[in-house]
């Protein structure tokens, strides 16, 4: 069943275009059953997972490569499956009222959305790393398509490209990391790799694999400094922002980090990288969120910040892996529980907040905080939803965000007692950063709700007369915020069914659920966490009242966007640099290309000669030197050397011809009569041909002048000459075998009936060569004929 749940969205996506035959029905109605059915299926499996029994499906795909479609449903993937299908259903419902039926190309929208849903389910259910990677990239592609849904807008295309580049960069790094894991363990199955985890830590590839996998997770989950794509992805339609860029896809990185925890946790690098990246992202995102004036940008930075929070909790939770004692594991592993709980809470309140922003946008025509205000009376239900969502986000009672924020503080305070790393007072950094970030979180949550709905109505700035949204549009966010309240008052409902199995899955290694169970209460007594929350509220209120007056948030200063400038600069640097580099060496001059080729030739061959020990220059067994040969060689070289100095064409041609005749003479001396004959005829015909064509050449002044002399040409030419000489000597010095010519000499008359051995070789032993050599001549003559007879266009 599990694999069918992944398959259905893809199949459905293929069928959605058929909805154009039912143009009176909104295509969303056809889509809605898919997430609902998957959600129902997953709910029905909950009790089985809750009892500690995982569902495994394995279908062979490429078994020789170790790549199989193996899917596992355990606590952690069940949680994600429920989020994807549950929020997916709500988003589909919401989009039916949000997106117009005719104005938008609505069927494309649902095809992309279903594609994304299937890919995301594939990511969370895959046990095989390669299959996971495949689905992972598919989510990137679906996200790209959805961000650029209004593709006529320049900003949409920019945002889509940016998110594509960054997430695919991370995806490729992750792919490399997966392959390193395969190199170490010989399997792509996550469960099998986790089983070998204890042997991996000391391997040299362990750290590179960890960093590469984390790169993939950090880029997808918009961690610092890869978060820059997320605010630009807000150009997508709001249902997409709510679904992909708050509840599901950006959590794929968190999913991966948690999924890889049984493999990597226990390494101190993992603890530090994951925790600190998370905390930096948390603080930076919450600080940036305060400065935004666009509601969706504020929510984007808030998402970045909250993802950082969960990431840091996952990092801190990995401290449990350093202990074996059950109590201590539970004590330090609390952070993991908090991470899972906050993940659920965030999906709930962020989804509802995005939908609220969509409603505000829909009803007023703007998302600009400076133009909004006083909508409380006109849109009471929407503002109530926003209030609950924001308070939950800020971590205020009595909403579920309060509980997870408390657990977050608890975990960050607990970690001070973590003594394995000998980090000493550095550990204090964690709770302090966490607390500061929570203050900022409080402030932007208040800005979100009170700047939009509180204050006075600025009616003249709005495009439309605002009024309450329709019931259909409100249904999804109402359901979500009521969940935020339900989870707050009955957290253990969630704890037993979802959180405990998920935490056990993250912890790995057959941990039983009882040992990970932490009961979640509203009231802990007067703990440090509570004082921290009170501090957050007090300082946050103060900051919210005064933040406009702070120099800190002065527009000049806050609008500086270094990382985006870096990204744009890097992109144009790559483009311009690439173009300049290409312009530098692709000059269009044949001479330059020849020089590259020849220099490579010289370097490669001389390098081999020098560095290869087996090659030696042979000097023995040479034929004796005779006068005639030497004299011929000298004359030949002298005439050849005269060619470059020839001032006129005729001389150059004649000198070359003379070289040819010297070669003929050398052939004669070296006992090759056939060669001498052929060479002489060929040389004669060539010279005649040259002279014949020369007669028809246009008169050109330059050719009559003394040829230009170039030192670089001489140097390269000299290098080639020396290389060839050395190779000739080396090949004669190191040929270990006897020639096979005795066979030809013995068999020429006996087998072939000819006494001229060269001719017998040409037409009998190796007749094929001759056949094709005749063909070469034929083709050349046809070419010459064509060149002269056809296409006679004269000089323009």
């Amino acid at each position: 069943m599990l694999h069918i749940a992944i398959l259905i969205p893809f199949l459905w996506a293929a069928l959605i275009p058929l909805m154009r035959w039912f143009s009176r029905i909104h295509a969303g109605w056809a889509v809605l059953p898919v997430p609902v059915a998957i959600f129902a299926y997953l709910i029905s499996q909950m009790s089985q997972i809750g009892s500690g029994e995982n569902i495994v499906v394995e279908i062979p795909w490429m078994p020789d490569l170790g790549i199989n479609l193996s899917f596992v449903l355990d606590g952690w993937s069940l949680l994600f499956g429920l989020l994807i299908s549950g929020i997916g259903a709500l988003v589909v419902w919401y989009s039916m009222f949000y997106m117009g039926k005719r104005t938008d190309s609505i069927r494309n929208f649902y095809v992309y959305l279903l594609l994304f849903m299937g890919a995301m389910l594939g990511v969370v259910f895959s046990d095989n790393l390669m299959v996971l990677y495949g689905f992972w990239e598919l989510t990137s592609i679906a996200s790209f398509l959805l961000i650029a849904f209004w593709y006529r807008r320049e900003r949409s295309r920019y945002g889509a490209l940016k998110s594509m580049l960054i997430t695919v960069f991370g995806g490729l790094a992750m792919f490399a990391g997966f392959n390193l894991l395969y190199a170490m363990t010989g399997t792509y199955s996550i469960r099998e790799i986790a089983a070998q985890a204890s042997e991996l830590v000391d391997q040299p590839l362990f750290l590179p694999a960890m960093i590469l996998v984390l790169l993939g997770a950090f880029t997808k989950s918009a961690q610092f400094p890869f978060h820059i794509w997320l605010p630009d992805a807000m150009e997508a339609p709001t249902p997409v922002s709510a679904y992909l860029h708050s509840a599901t896809m950006v959590k794929a990185g968190l999913y991966l980090v948690a999924r890889m925890s049984p493999i990597f946790a226990g390494a101190t690098e993992w603890f530090w990288i994951v925790s600190l990246t998370g905390l930096v992202t948390l603080t930076y995102g919450s600080f940036k969120a305060i400065r935004q004036t666009d509601l969706k940008a504020l929510l984007a930075y808030s998402t970045i910040s909250q993802l950082g929070l969960i990431m840091s909790l996952l990092g801190v939770g990995s401290a449990a892996a350093f202990y074996t004692d059950a109590d201590q594991v539970a004590w330090f592993g609390l952070a993991t529980t908090a991470a899972v709980f906050h993940l659920i809470n965030h999906a709930v309140f962020k989804g509802s907040l995005f939908m609220v922003v969509g409603i505000v946008d829909h009803e007023t025509g703007t998302r600009d905080l400076r133009r909004l205000g006083g909508l409380m009376k006109l849109m009471p239900i929407t503002s109530a939803i926003a209030l609950i969502g924001s308070f939950s986000m800020a971590g205020l009672p009595p909403f579920s965000g309060f509980l997870s924020k408390e657990m977050f503080f608890t975990a960050m305070v607990h970690i001070l007692e973590f003594d394995v790393l000998n980090a000493g007072s550095w550990m204090l950094l964690l709770p302090i950063l966490a607390w500061i970030a929570s203050v900022f979180t409080f402030v932007y949550s208040m800005i979100l709700v009170f700047k939009t709905f509180g204050g006075k109505l600025k009616e003249n700035t709005l495009d439309k007369k605002p009024h309450e949204a329709s019931a259909g549009l409100l249904a999804s966010p109402i359901l979500l915020v009521s969940l935020a309240i339900v989870f707050a008052f009955m957290p253990n409902l969630l704890a037993y069914n979802l959180i405990d199995p998920a935490v056990a899955a993250i912890r790995g290694g057959g941990v039983d659920f009882e040992s990970v169970h932490v009961s979640i209460h509203f009231w802990h007594g007067w703990t440090p966490e509570l004082w921290m929350t009170i501090g957050v509220v007090l300082l946050g209120t103060l900051l919210y009242r005064t933040y406009t007056r702070f120099k800190l948030l002065d527009r000049e200063w806050s609008n500086r966007d270094t990382l985006n400038r870096l990204y744009n600069g890097l992109l144009s640097l790559l483009e311009n640099g690439g173009r300049r580099l290409t312009d530098l060496y692709m000059t269009g001059s044949v001479r330059h290309y020849l020089i590259y080729i020849l220099i490579f030739f010289i370097a490669a061959l001389c390098g081999t000669l020098v560095f290869s020990p087996d090659i030696r220059l042979g000097m023995d067994n040479y034929a004796p030197i005779t006068f005639y040969e030497v004299a011929l060689v000298v004359v030949m070289l002298a005439t050849a050397a005269a060619v470059p100095f020839a001032r006129s064409r005729v001389n150059a041609i004649l000198f070359t011809g003379a070289v040819g005749y010297m070669v003929t003479a050398l052939f004669l001396i070296f006992r090759a009569p056939d060669l001498a004959l052929t060479q002489m005829i060929v040389e004669t015909v060539s010279v005649v041909l040259f002279l014949l064509c020369f007669k028809f050449l246009p008169k050109l002044k330059s050719t009559k002048e003394r040829p230009v002399f170039k030192w670089t040409n001489l140097l390269v030419a000299g290098g080639v000459g020396v290389t060839v000489t050395l190779i000739a000597l080396a090949s004669m010095g190191s040929s270990p075998f006897e020639p096979i010519s005795t066979y030809f000499l013995n068999e020429s008359y006996k087998s072939a009936g000819g006494k001229n051995v060269v001719n017998v070789i040409l037409v009998d032993f190796r007749g094929f060569d001759t056949l094709f050599e005749i063909m070469v001549l034929g083709v050349a003559s046809l070419g010459i004929f064509g060149l002269i007879k056809l296409g006679v266009q004269t000089t323009p």
Binding site: A623, T656, G660, R671, V682, S702, V720, V724, L729, V776
Partner: protein, 110 residues
């Protein structure tokens, strides 16, 4: 003898390459001619220049020159002749249509 031939082949290569690197089309073609000569002599030399009769069987002769490289060179001579002839006619046509002798004067685009 072989080392003298090796040096001679190197010198032919050097002159040929030098000519190929120049601008005039004619000089480039002549350069390829010289390179061809160099290659043929290299083939000949590398097979060994030991004395023996020409490889035409006759009674009473014990040792012959190696016939195989000779067959290879013969093939090569014919092929390079075909190429050179085509090359030259190509250059001739280029002169006719473009009216210039220098290769770098060509615009790559057209």
């Amino acid at each position: 003898m072989e080392w003298i031939m090796a040096i001679a082949v190197g010198a032919l290569f050097m002159i040929g390459v030098y000519l190929i690197l120049s601008k005039g089309l004619l000089r480039i073609i002549l350069g390829t001619s010289l390179l061809t000569h160099g290659v043929h002599l290299l083939l000949m030399t590398m097979a060994g220049l030991k004395r023996g009769a020409a490889p035409v069987l006759s009674d009473g002769v014990e040792s012959y020159a190696d016939p195989l490289p000779q067959a290879l060179i013969l093939t090569s001579i014919v092929i390079s002749f075909g190429i050179t002839a085509l090359y030259f006619v190509l250059a001739y046509r280029a002169y006719q249509t473009r009216g210039t002798d220098e290769i770098d004067g060509y615009d790559v685009e057209d």
